[in-house]
C-alpha cells in the first residue's frame, strides 16, 4: 500500500498556505546521494531564504513568501536522514513529503505546489505535462547577489498553439504571484531578479513579451533578445537559478 506522508518541519515557522508561493523540490536535487553534498538547490536555497528575510523586514506580517516543500520519492532514502540533513544545512524547508515516483504529481497537486524544481529534465517534463509548472535548476559556479529567475519569452508571445501546453495556466498565475513579490522591492537592490530571454523573434516581439508580462503584474529586470543567435554563450553568462518556459527548457543548450 502506497502512502504519501507529509511531515511539517518544526524548526521552521509555517507559512500561510493560501498566500505563500509554494515551491517543491526533490531530495535528489538538493542532496547529492553519494557525497551528501547540497547541490544546485543548495545555492538557490540561501537566496530563496534571503528573499523571505527581506520581505519580512519590510513587513513582518508578510504572507507572500516562498514556502519550500521537500519531496522524497526514493524509498531508499531514510526519512530521518533527510530531516536531519536539512536541519544540519539550515535549509528553510516548510514540509517534507515522503512519496513515490508514481505519486509525484499527485503529491504536488495535493500540496498546492506552484513551481516544481528539478535537475532531472525527464522528471520536470513529465510533471509539466500534467499541468504543474516545472523549471530546471541551473548549475551555479559563481555566487550571486539575488535569486535569478529566467523566463523564456518565446512562450509568452507565441499565439495559442495547438495543443496549448498543459502548464500554461500555472505559468501565468505563477508569474503574477512572482510579480507581486518582485514588486515589494525597488528597481535596484532586489533579492529577486527577473530575467527575460527571447530566442527567436525580433526586438518587437520581445517588447511585446515585456509588456504582456507587465500587464500580468510582472516587471522584468533584464531582457535579452537573441533573434536567432546561439543561446549557449548567453545562458552561461546569465546563470539563472530557475529557468521557466513553455514545457521545460534545457539550460545547457
Amino acid at each position: 500500500m502506497e502512502m504519501v506522508s507529509t511531515v511539517q518541519n518544526t524548526d521552521v515557522k509555517q507559512k500561510d498556505a493560501d498566500r505563500a508561493l509554494v515551491v517543491a523540490v526533490t531530495t535528489r536535487a538538493v542532496f547529492d546521494a553519494a557525497a551528501g553534498d547540497v547541490y544546485g538547490m543548495g545555492v538557490a536555497f540561501p537566496l530563496l531564504q534571503k528573499v523571505n528575510e527581506r520581505l519580512l523586514e519590510k513587513n513582518p506580517a508578510e504572507s507572500l513568501l516562498f514556502d519550500v516543500v521537500l519531496i522524497a520519492t526514493d524509498s531508499q532514502q531514510q526519512s530521518s536522514r533527510i530531516i536531519s540533513s536539512t536541519s544540519h544545512y539550515g535549509l528553510e524547508v516548510g514540509r517534507f513529503c515522503f512519496s513515490s515516483r508514481e505519486d509525484l504529481v499527485e503529491t504536488l497537486v495535493v500540496n498546492n505546489v506552484q513551481l516544481f524544481l528539478s535537475t532531472d529534465r525527464d522528471e520536470a517534463l513529465q510533471v509539466s505535462q500534467k499541468g504543474v509548472l516545472s523549471a530546471l535548476l541551473g548549475r551555479q559556479e559563481a555566487p550571486s547577489e539575488s535569486l535569478r529567475v529566467m523566463l523564456c519569452g518565446d512562450a509568452i508571445v507565441r499565439p495559442d498553439c495547438d495543443p496549448v501546453p498543459a502548464s500554461r495556466g500555472a505559468a501565468q498565475s505563477f508569474s503574477a504571484r512572482l510579480g507581486e513579490m518582485r514588486g515589494r522591492f525597488g528597481v535596484s537592490g532586489s533579492p529577486l531578479s527577473i530575467v527575460l530571454v527571447t530566442s527567436s523573434g525580433g526586438s518587437k516581439s520581445c517588447g511585446v513579451a515585456l509588456q504582456t508580462l507587465r500587464s500580468r503584474g510582472l516587471s522584468v529586470d533584464e531582457a535579452y533578445c537573441l533573434a536567432g543567435a546561439p543561446r549557449g554563450p548567453i545562458l552561461s553568462l546569465l546563470r539563472p537559478h530557475f529557468l521557466l518556459g513553455d514545457g521545460v527548457i534545457d539550460l545547457e543548450d
Binding site: V157, R158, P159, D160, G186, V187, S188, S193, V195, L196, G201, G202, S203, K204, S205, C206, G207, L210, Q211, R214, S219, V220, D221, E222, A223, Y224, C225, L226, A227, G228, A229, P230, P233, I234, S236, L237
Partner: protein, 403 residues
C-alpha cells in the same frame, strides 16, 4: 503610433477579434523585416542606448533624482520616441550597406548586425524598443528635411494628411534602396556592465558614451570607442557609409606615439625612416577596418567598386614625406586597403574631416576629437595607449556613476 498599426496589422475579417489580430501581428513580425544575420558571419556592432538615442534629459533626471525616478520617467514617456543620438547616422548608414548587400547577395549572412547593448533596466527597454520601431517604419517617410533641401524649388508646398504628413514624398524618385532601422538583438542588463556580454554576442565594434566600459572592452580585445556628438550637424551621405580612422594608437599600436612623446619629433622621424619596412603592431580598431574591407570586397567582386557604399579614410598627423610610408606599408602587409590616406603633417584634423563628412571618426587623442566635433564631425574616442596620459586638454574623466 497609428502609423505602425496601419503598416503591421494584416487585415482581418472581424476587426474586433483580438486573437486574430494578435496572430496576424505576430506573423507580420516574422515576415516584414529580413531575418537578422547569424552572428558568426556578421559584422556585429554593439551600441549603447545613449549613443543610439539622445538621452541627455533622461540622464540628467537619473543624475539629479536617482534610478527610481529615472525609470518611472522613462515608463511615463515610453510612447514618445527618443531623438537620434551620435551613433544614429552611423547605424543608418550600416543599414544602407546591408540593403545593397542583400540586393547583390540575397542568401549571404555577411552583413552588419546591430545589437543594442545597454545596462538599462528592462522597463526602460520598452521605450527603447518603441523608439527603434518608430524609426524602423520611417523607411516609408524619408528624412523630410534632407529631401527638402534637395528639391527646394519644387517642394514649397508640404501639405499632407494628418495621419501621413509625409505621404507626398513617396512619389519622389529615389535612386537607392531605402533601409529600415533594423535592430533585432539587444541586451538589457538591468544594472550590470554589459561588457561581459560583448563576446557572447560576437561583437566586432562597441560604441558607448561611458569611457570606462569602452576601456574594459578594449582590454578584452574588442574594438571600442566613446562617442561624442558633434557641436553642429554636417550633412552626411545616405548612400555611402564613410568611416575615418586616425592611424597611431587606433589602427596601429601606440609604439610610435611613445617615441614622439618621449623623444620628440626628430627622434620620431628618424625612427620611422629606419623602420619603414617593419610593419607596426596592430591597434584596437584594426580588426574593424578588416571587417569593413571584407564587405567592400564583396562589392568589388560584383563590379561595384566605383559605386561601393563603404568608404574608409585614414586621417593622420603623420606627414607623407617622412613618416607616412611606414603606415602604408603596414597596411599593405596586413592585406588591408584604405580608400583615402590623408597625411596632415600636424595640421588640425577638423577642417579636413568637415570636407570628408564621415559618419564616424576614430581617434585616440581628445584634442583631435574636440577639433573634429567643433566642425561638425561625429567623433569616437579610443582610450588606448600613451595618448591617454599626455593629453593637452582636460583629462578624460570617467563619470562618477556607472549607470
Amino acid at each position: 503610433m497609428s502609423e505602425i498599426k496601419a503598416k503591421d496589422f494584416a487585415p482581418t475579417g472581424d476587426a474586433g477579434e483580438e486573437k486574430d489580430a494578435a496572430k496576424a501581428h505576430f506573423d507580420n513580425l516574422k515576415t516584414n523585416k529580413p531575418r537578422p544575420p547569424k552572428p558568426q558571419y556578421a559584422v556585429t556592432i554593439a551600441v549603447s542606448s545613449r549613443t543610439l538615442f539622445n538621452m541627455v534629459t533622461e540622464r540628467k533626471i537619473y543624475e539629479d533624482q536617482g534610478l527610481e525616478e529615472y525609470v518611472a520617467y522613462q515608463r511615463d514617456h515610453e510612447n514618445e520616441p527618443l531623438m537620434p543620438g551620435p551613433a544614429f547616422p552611423f547605424v543608418k548608414a550600416l543599414m544602407t550597406v546591408n540593403a545593397r548587400l542583400r540586393q547583390l547577395y540575397p542568401d549571404s549572412e555577411e552583413l552588419f548586425d546591430i545589437v543594442l547593448m545597454t545596462n538599462n533596466h528592462a522597463q526602460v527597454g520598452v521605450r527603447l524598443i518603441n523608439s527603434i520601431n518608430h524609426y524602423g517604419t520611417l523607411h516609408l517617410q524619408p528624412d523630410i528635411s534632407r529631401l527638402a533641401r534637395r528639391t527646394a524649388a519644387a517642394a514649397h508646398t508640404f501639405k499632407g494628411s494628418p495621419l501621413y504628413p509625409n505621404l507626398h514624398t513617396m512619389s519622389l524618385q529615389l535612386p537607392f534602396p531605402l533601409s529600415d532601422l533594423t535592430i533585432e538583438r539587444f541586451c538589457m542588463t538591468g544594472g550590470e556592465s554589459p561588457t561581459g556580454y560583448l563576446e557572447a554576442y560576437m561583437t566586432n565594434l562597441y560604441l558607448s558614451k561611458d569611457s570606462e566600459k569602452v576601456s574594459e572592452a578594449i582590454e578584452e580585445g574588442i574594438a571600442a570607442a566613446t562617442m561624442f556628438m558633434a557641436v553642429k550637424e554636417n550633412e552626411l551621405s545616405d548612400t555611402q557609409l564613410r568611416v575615418a580612422f586616425d592611424g597611431d594608437a587606433v589602427l596601429f599600436s601606440d609604439e610610435s606615439e611613445i617615441i614622439v612623446k618621449e623623444g620628440g619629433l626628430d627622434t620620431f622621424f628618424a625612427h620611422e625612416k629606419k623602420f619603414e619596412n617593419t610593419p607596426l603592431a596592430q591597434g584596437p580598431l584594426k580588426c574593424f577596418l578588416e571587417a569593413l574591407g571584407k564587405l567592400q570586397r564583396k562589392f568589388y567582386a560584383k563590379n561595384e567598386r566605383l559605386n561601393c557604399p563603404i568608404r574608409t579614410f585614414l586621417v593622420t598627423a603623420r606627414s607623407a614625406a617622412s613618416s607616412g610610408a611606414r603606415v602604408l606599408k603596414t597596411l599593405r602587409s596586413w592585406g588591408l586597403e584604405i580608400d583615402e590616406a590623408l597625411f596632415l603633417a600636424g595640421a588640425p584634423k577638423g577642417p579636413l574631416l568637415q570636407k570628408i563628412k564621415p559618419h564616424i571618426f576614430f581617434d585616440d587623442q581628445m584634442f583631435h576629437i574636440e577639433g573634429a566635433r567643433e566642425l561638425g564631425t561625429i567623433s569616437a574616442h579610443v582610450p588606448y595607449g600613451i595618448g591617454q596620459k599626455y593629453n593637452k586638454g582636460k583629462l578624460i574623466e570617467s563619470p562618477a556613476k556607472k549607470k
